[in-house]
């Protein structure tokens, strides 16, 4: 009961989708669309569980007088506040007159979520600079190749400063070298990596839909 039925479900759904992919029949498209909808519904509900986990851990830290508990309260307030506004927008409750359907959630999105996420990622520009000085060493032939190619591509992607003599010619030359490196050498490397990754996905996918790979079940 615990393991046989789930594995049977995985194999049945996996083979149904595979049959639907290869079969030209109209019935295949219906089967494919239905199973895709199942996956979407289950994935959405599974995502709701993510909230339960986050709330449980935050409440545990608040009750345990964790030094950061004031921030955990802030986390829960902003989360449930945005959830409440979002739900009202989706179902159209308490809609202020003159405002579009999604304006309230868009406002929270633009003033809270957008600046926070993009600034978090922009910190990496600083970390790359400190890593460039402190950690990127030409310790081996391979690492040296990487740093040289990286520098070449960096220079080939940007306009040359105008005070540089012949900046236009140098700029075009570097861009041509970078284009050759990208289209042919990087093209070759990427193709090999992509074919390798596809074989990995094919192997793992086959083992999952034939019921051989079961490690995801033993949670």
């Amino acid at each position: 009961m615990k393991r046989e039925i789930p594995i049977l479900l995985t194999v049945l759904c996996g083979l149904a989708i595979t049959w639907a992919f290869f079969s030209p029949l109209p019935a295949a498209r219906a089967v494919n669309a239905e199973l895709l909808a199942w996956a979407e519904v289950i994935f959405s509900v599974a995502f709701l569980l993510g909230i339960a986990n986050l709330v449980r851990i935050s409440l545990k830290q608040i009750s345990a007088r964790h030094p950061d508990s004031i921030y955990k309260v802030l986390l829960l307030l902003t989360m449930f506040g945005y959830l409440a506004v979002g739900l009202c927008d989706i179902h159209g409750w308490l809609l202020p007159e003159g405002a579009g359907a999604k304006d309230r959630s868009d406002w929270i999105y633009e003033k809270f979520f957008q600046p926070l996420q993009s600034t978090m990622f922009s910190l990496l520009a600083f970390y790359i600079a400190s890593a460039a000085f402190r950690a990127f060493r030409a310790r081996s032939f391979e690492a040296t190749l990487l740093l040289v190619a990286g520098s070449l591509v960096m220079l080939g992607q940007v306009p040359m400063p105008t005070w540089l003599p012949e900046s236009a010619a140098v700029g075009t030359f570097l861009q041509r070298v970078q284009a050759f490196l990208m289209v042919y050498v990087n093209g070759a490397g990427q193709s090999a990596i992509i074919i390798g990754a596809a074989l990995g996905t094919l192997a793992t996918g086959l083992r999952i839909i034939l019921g051989v790979e079961r490690s995801y079940l033993s949670e």
Binding site: L9, C13, G14, I17, F21, P26, A33, E34, A37, W38, E40, V41, F43, S44, V45, L48, L49, L54, L74, L75, L76, L83, G86, I90, P96, A99, D103, R104, S105, E110, F112, F113, P115, L116, S118, T119, S122, L123, F126, E142, L146, S151, L152, M154, G156, Q157, V158, M182, Y184, V185, A188, S191, A192, G196, A198, T201, G205, I208, I209, L217
Partner: protein
């Protein structure tokens, strides 16, 4: 000069319909500067920003998946099927472009409802077997989707795509005259595609593990590593480009809010420099405040240490 020009229309203090409002400007500047303050040291401003980010982020993605996965795929689907089954309805529904009897549509979709409910059991009894049925279904569907799609486009069509880059193109002139034309010549074309072909073959051979390493395989693997390292170099170059594009955009956003309309100070009398107004504009004022608080905290810690 990139400093923002005066806003044409006067932005309201708070409005959810206007593209920009003063309260929004102050919030954006506070969160941007609070995250940047982490570069100096982890501090209360950063902790506020980090926890608001986790709260708002979790809520945002949950709303999207609720609206699409639960409302869209369940509620609206069942409603549509119900209308089709009703007296005026045709009894048939469209599913993936194929007409399907509405009764079947409801029956099949309720299986997804059942599986989702089994997933929720994990909230009450953590060790129970029920959630595994839902996870197993989802994993089976996604694994098959990925396997079929990627075998087609990343294996078969990728190899086929490489074949369509032949070594010889008879239509090209054999030698070029100036530098710009050299790329249109036969010699460059053949050399470039030879580099591509040999590069792919050697990189693939580098990832062959279970065959005995003869001289040929070891040599090809060496060339393969060179190709891979140049590829990683190219990716490194592009990552640097991307991160700085993002940083410049954040600084540009702060620049936009130095405009007078957002500042606490009233617009300057004609002719006098807007220095006071700039000082009290959201980015500048908040930056100074945060720096002051951190400096005072650092000084008091040094005295007490």
């Amino acid at each position: 000069m990139l400093l923002a020009l005066q806003q044409a229309t006067e932005p309201p203090f708070f409005s959810i319909t206007a593209p920009d409002d003063v309260l929004g400007a102050w919030l954006i500047c506070f969160f941007t500067l609070a995250v940047f303050s982490f570069l100096y040291k982890d501090n209360p401003f950063y902790k506020v920003a980090e926890h608001v980010f986790v709260g708002v982020g979790t809520a945002f993605y949950t709303l999207q998946y609720y609206e699409e996965g639960v409302i869209g795929r369940l509620y609206e689907h069942m409603e549509q099927a119900g209308r089709a089954l009703g007296e005026g309805g045709s009894g048939v529904m469209d599913l993936g472009g194929t007409p399907v009897p509405a009764a079947w549509a409801i029956g099949l979709r309720s299986v997804a409802v059942l599986l989702s409910l089994m997933l929720l059991v994990r909230l009450f009894r953590s060790g129970s077997w029920a959630p595994r049925w839902a996870v197993a279904t989802m994993v089976g569907i996604y694994a098959a989707i990925k396997m079929t799609g990627e075998t087609q486009s990343k294996l078969v069509l990728q190899v086929e795509g490489l074949m369509r880059k032949p070594l010889v193109n008879p239509e090209l002139a054999s030698w070029g005259s100036d530098w710009a034309a050299v790329e249109q010549t036969q010699v460059f074309y053949t050399f470039a595609n030879l580099v591509l072909l040999v590069g792919v073959l050697c990189a693939l051979l580098h990832f062959v593990f279970t065959f005995r390493r003869g001289k040929v395989l070891a040599g090809a693997s060496r060339v393969g590593v060179v190709v891979l390292m140049l590829t990683f170099g190219a990716m490194f170059g592009f990552t640097v480009l991307g991160r700085y594009a993002l940083l410049i955009d954040r600084i540009d956003t702060l620049g936009d809010y130095t405009g007078g309309a957002y500042s606490l100070a009233p617009p300057p009398a004609a002719g006098s420099a807007g220095a006071l107004q700039l000082m009290l504009s959201p980015p500048v004022l908040l930056a100074v405040l945060i720096a002051l608080v951190l400096a005072v905290a650092a000084a008091s810690r040094k005295r007490s240490a």
